[in-house]
């Protein structure tokens, strides 16, 4: 009888490993695929090359004033650098910029950790970002107490205003949306009709008319002398509008939960609110993460509409800067910058949601 002897491990053939292997497996696995790959590469190079050239290679990165860009064939980034404070802070008093800086740092510190799995104090940080952070930010930005100079909301603007609108919209629309979605599925006719009415009303009007109503019409109906802040009105309008959308997204998740889950929770003796909080909502919300983030992203971009009621968000300020005769022919740079700002935040939200979905994945469903 021969002794069994394991054969030694041999390295895989060169052609299946490393860069060459990757190219072979992904770009040139068959003649047709190779042709498609080559055509795609050709188009990418023809279209990407000028873009890269404009954005990076021929772009002007240093220098002073419009004259530095006169000869350039690429982007004039010194325009953006010059106007960056305005784009970010709006017309907030320059000597008070530090107040917005502190808020922004707090914002980054309270959301940044959610991207890292290993960070140990996620829970407390999340609670901070939803409770203490808005309060601190409000007192910091608005001032008027603690010895801080009062800055009226007319002076708030720029990317900081965009972030503020989006933050308040997101943080308020989600819980209101949940309550509306539960209400719409309630067995109590009064609550159900109220929620249906609310959702259908807000969903049926364009956001732009909601904002118009809030800024132009509402003051006409209010009694004399009673007036509240334009920004606050815009915020309420955006929140109501988005919570109606959110409610419908969440209702979709609630309907996807099998009735057996409700029955098992009931049989255990859990009351309605505990059932929802512990069993139904965690599953329903997880199911509709893509829809929720979709709504968040839409909300973030919709904040640009406040422009039409005279609030100066980042896009409005970019437009104003482009029209400023001090800088000539900088439209593209301005709009690319504005687009990049929005893309950056929307893309972060999208990445975060994907991460969350992976983390909450708990094996196959029943």
């Amino acid at each position: 009888m021969n002794d069994f002897k394991a054969l030694p491990d041999l390295p895989a053939p060169n052609a299946t490993r490393g860069l060459v292997g990757w190219f072979k497996a992904n770009l040139f696995p068959s003649p047709v695929n190779s042709v498609v790959s080559l055509i795609a590469i050709y188009f990418i190079i023809t279209f990407l090359a000028p873009v890269v050239d404009w954005v990076l290679i021929s772009a002007v990165w240093t220098g002073e004033g419009n004259a530095a860009c006169a000869e350039a064939t690429g982007a004039c980034w010194i325009f953006i650098a010059d106007r960056l404070p305005i784009f970010f802070y709006g017309i907030y008093p320059p000597d008070q910029y530090w107040r917005l800086d502190v808020c922004f740092i707090l914002l980054v510190l309270s959301f940044g950790p959610q991207f890292f799995d290993k960070f140990p104090y996620k829970g407390p940080v999340a609670i901070f970002s939803l409770t203490a952070f808005p309060v601190i930010s409000f007192f910091l930005i608005s001032g008027g107490s603690f010895g801080l100079e009062h800055v009226p909301t007319e002076k708030w603007g720029g990317l900081s205003l965009t972030l503020l609108l989006a933050y308040v919209g997101i943080v308020a629309a989600l819980p209101i949306g949940i309550v509306l979605a539960l209400g719409r599925r309630s067995e109590m006719p009064v609550i159900r009709s109220f929620c249906i009415g609310f959702i259908e009303l807000w969903r049926g009007v364009p956001l732009i008319s909601v904002l118009f109503m809030a800024s132009v019409m509402l003051p006409l109906f209010l009694p004399d002398g009673m007036n509240f802040d334009k920004l606050l009105r815009a915020l309420i309008g955006i929140t109501m509008f988005q919570s109606a959308y959110m409610a419908e997204v969440i209702r979709g998740g609630l309907q996807a939960i099998p009735s057996g889950q409700y029955e098992a929770a009931s049989a255990m003796g859990l009351g309605y609110w505990k059932q929802m909080r512990l069993v139904i909502l965690p599953q329903a919300l997880k199911l509709v993460i893509p829809g929720i983030v979709n709504t968040f992203i839409a909300l973030f971009k919709d904040t640009t509409l406040v422009l039409i009621i005279g609030l100066l968000d980042v896009l409005a300020l970019v437009q104003a800067a482009i029209e400023d005769p001090v800088w000539k022919a900088v439209e593209t740079e301005g709009y690319v910058f504005a687009a990049f700002c929005f893309w950056l935040f929307c893309f972060s939200m999208s990445r975060y949601s994907q991460k969350l979905e992976r983390k909450l994945h708990t094996g196959h469903k029943r």
Partner: protein, 248 residues
Amino acid sequence: MTSNQSAIQMVDMNKWYGDFHVLKDINLNVAEGERIVICGPSGSGKSTMIRCINRLEEHQTGQIIVNGIELTDDLKRIDEVRKEVGMCFQHFNLFPHLTVLENCTLGPIWVRNMPKKEAEDVAMQYLERVKIPEQAGKFPGQLSGGQQQRVAIARSLCMSPKIMLFDEPTSALDPEMIKEVLDVMVELANEGMTMLCVTHEMGFAKMVADRVIFMDMGQIVEENNPHDFFDNPQNDRTKMFLSQIIGH
């Protein structure tokens, strides 16, 4: 083991789904510690009947008294009854977003206000009894059907119920997994738990049941001890049913 105290009493109980009369004049008295197997063709109302006991289904007329508490619209009473009545479902209905251990501790922590540590100890004890303590950290989606059903049984037992209801606990399982679930149920029966099982496992019925109930068309057609029920059925409908499920 069977005492004379009544665990469940149903008196002239009727239920309709709209115009459809599902349960007709059900009269059933279950003593504490009694093990009852309910069988019958599909659509005969067996599941609906046991689901009335913890009010997953509402009855319209007659009385249901569980552990001395009469079931009415009063939510407090319903909660009281549900605390004492455990239930296992055909499709297990484990909570897929929670681990096996969390599934088991949810009820004790949130319904019985037990401290988390204690609830976990209790849960591990019951997971050991259903012989899957090593799966405590997994999610239900990672377990086999038989394992999931055993977790579901452990989850119910963690509430230390006085009565256990089983609604076709083995019907959704592969034949090989049925035995592991039945073993757990037999053990539970031998410990004196009051049990109502809707099942077609006739071997199980013969082994543990004190009484077998046969239902058809929303009525209790026949009830007897398992020996007489299987060997000497009285009603023609019962005879036909038995010949069909045993004959194949």
